[in-house]
Amino acid sequence: MIEVAGLTKLYGSRAAVGGINFSVSKGEILGFLGPNGAGKTTTMRILTGYVPPTSGTARVGGFDVQDSPIEVKKRIGYLPEHPPLYTEMLVRPFLRFAARLRGVPRKDQNGRVDRAIDRCGLQPVAGRLIGNLSKGYQQRVGLAQAILHDPDVLILDEPTVGLDPSQIREIRQLIKSFAGEHTVILSTHILAEVTMTCNRVLIINEGKIAADETMERLRARGERTQRIAVRLARPPADPEGALRAVPGVLSVTRETTPDGSFAVEMDSARDAREEIARLAVTQGWGLLEMRAITLSLEDIFIRIIRGEEAAA
């Protein structure tokens, strides 16, 4: 559905996007993840034809963004970071205006507007001024505007920013409901959002793709190196050295809490837990606790961003 090759966007000499490649197939929900200023918005703006790329190509539904922008724009529904709303308009007339611009045939316009209002839960505010709506409702009007024409591709730039938790849940449900028939790209810097809605994630950092993986594989990364937490009642004089001596242990770090806790990193091929337990008992260290730590997505994300883990 979407193919991006060698896409670059320079602002002056600074590269907002520095030669990225990826493709998205039909029905996928792809999460764009990255710190602020990583190039997520720029990439989305190029895909929607708002900003032309400096070099490289982007194709949507087989049409090049540069060569046939109108064909591409017909197939895309786009919700920018700041929902593009005319604050002096009422919700329904605004959506009708958007439907006309998106090329919805005249006879379908009312039906499509009603359906979008329905899907985004806008019935209570359909007759109100957009400028008087809360941020949450404004965001939904923005989303309604993007799905009006039933686009093949839905591009959402931080769709849940500024919403309260229950609204966030509703929007996520809504986005999930598009899977299958539509291709969705959404950007966020909240990991939980990706976990809950996406089936694939693209981590972007400093204009480059740092990781491109399915959710399962990203989670599996957390289990590649095994980490355990060990807590001892009477740690030896040199606990780091003593634990390090156990075969299979890669590193030992003392936790900042003063209660004798250590984080031990082990080779995943060689489980050292049994050996550590035996050692603790024979040496009389007083083993209080031993548990496995799986890396959270946050940890993986931070590691990838810092470049500690090579991109797959």
Binding site: K9, Y11, A16, T42, R45, T48, G49, Y50, V51, P52, I70, E71, K73, K74, I76, Y78, P80, H82, P83, P84, L85, Y86, T87, E88, M89, P93, F97, A98, R100, L101, R102, G103, Q145
Partner: protein, 281 residues
């Protein structure tokens, strides 16, 4: 065309659902109405004074003394008010981010700009349409104005207004700040207005100027040093100089073509400006 009309319709709605259109219409009608009334009063006083002097009385003409000054003052009012009409057209779209909606919809930049221009032109038509009541009021009295020069005058005011709108739209596309858009458009219009003021004193010929600029090369190539003076050129680019014939009731295609080319050229430049700003992000 459908897309152009969609944009234009929304623009008109915006003007008329906000106080802007009503303030502009009200102020315009108040000023032009007062000026009309004042010259009408002066005209009727003169008519009474010279009622028994047939020589002077026959010189008095409602077209010359009421309608012609009215068109002149409408031009001045446009100079002040059209920047206010055009300032928000592109600048506000950019500031509020709605430009991102327009330019990611399957319509072209040219359609957006043409739609915006037509929306503003509609407001101009309403303003001028409302003043059609002035000549009708005179016709209801015993004075009989000549309608042909009056209509030519209206055509002139309309064309000048359309040219002003084009320039205002162009300036609005260059900035996100409405104040800057208004001041910039006002400055540009005033400059195009004032440019002819020195025309009579500038007697150096254009060819002579080019000769100096090319260090005498022009003369060596035998291109001639005669021809129009710089003052003639300034007169030709002055946006108000072309209006003078319309005021007198003379319809000359030269002036019609001039105004239409100003409109076309400024819309074209607006499209270029918007496109180039997209490249720069």
């Amino acid at each position: 065309m459908k897309n152009v009309l969609t944009i234009a319709e929304r623009e008109v709605r915006t003007y008329f659902t906000s106080p802007l259109a009503y303030v502009i219409l009200g102020v315009f009608l108040m000023l032009s109405g007062y000026i009309f009334w004042a010259s009408l009063v002066r005209f009727s006083v003169l008519c009474q004074q010279y009622g028994n002097n047939p020589y002077v009385f026959n010189q008095l003409n409602v077209n010359d003394m009421v309608i012609r000054p009215l068109f002149g003052s409408m031009g001045v009012i446009f100079l002040l008010m059209i920047p206010v009409i055009t300032m928000r057209l592109m600048a506000e779209e950019r500031r509020t981010g709605t430009a991102e909606l327009l330019f990611t919809c399957p319509i072209t930049t040219g359609q957006v700009i043409l739609g915006k221009y037509l929306g503003a032109a509609f407001l101009l038509l309403v303003m001028l349409g409302a003043t059609l009541s002035y000549p009708l009021l005179i016709m209801a009295s015993s004075a009989k104005p000549d309608m042909k020069p009056t209509l030519v005058g209206y055509l002139g005011v309309l064309l000048m207004g359309l040219a002003f709108l084009g320039i205002g739209l162009l300036v609005s596309a260059m900035t996100e700040n409405q104040i800057i858009a208004a001041v910039g458009a006002f400055g540009a219009l005033l400059m195009l207005w004032a440019v002819s003021w020195v025309a009579d004193s500038v007697t150096v010929t254009v060819a002579g100027l080019l000769n100096t600029a090319s260090f005498g090369l022009w003369e060596k190539l035998n291109l001639g040093l005669g021809g129009p003076t710089l003052g003639d050129l300034l007169n030709k680019i002055s946006i108000t100089e072309h209006f003078q014939d319309f005021r007198k009731g003379l319809l000359d295609t030269e002036h019609v073509v001039f105004y239409l080319s100003v409109v076309f050229f400024s819309l074209f430049l607006t499209q270029r400006v918007v496109e180039s700003r997209r490249w720069r992000g």
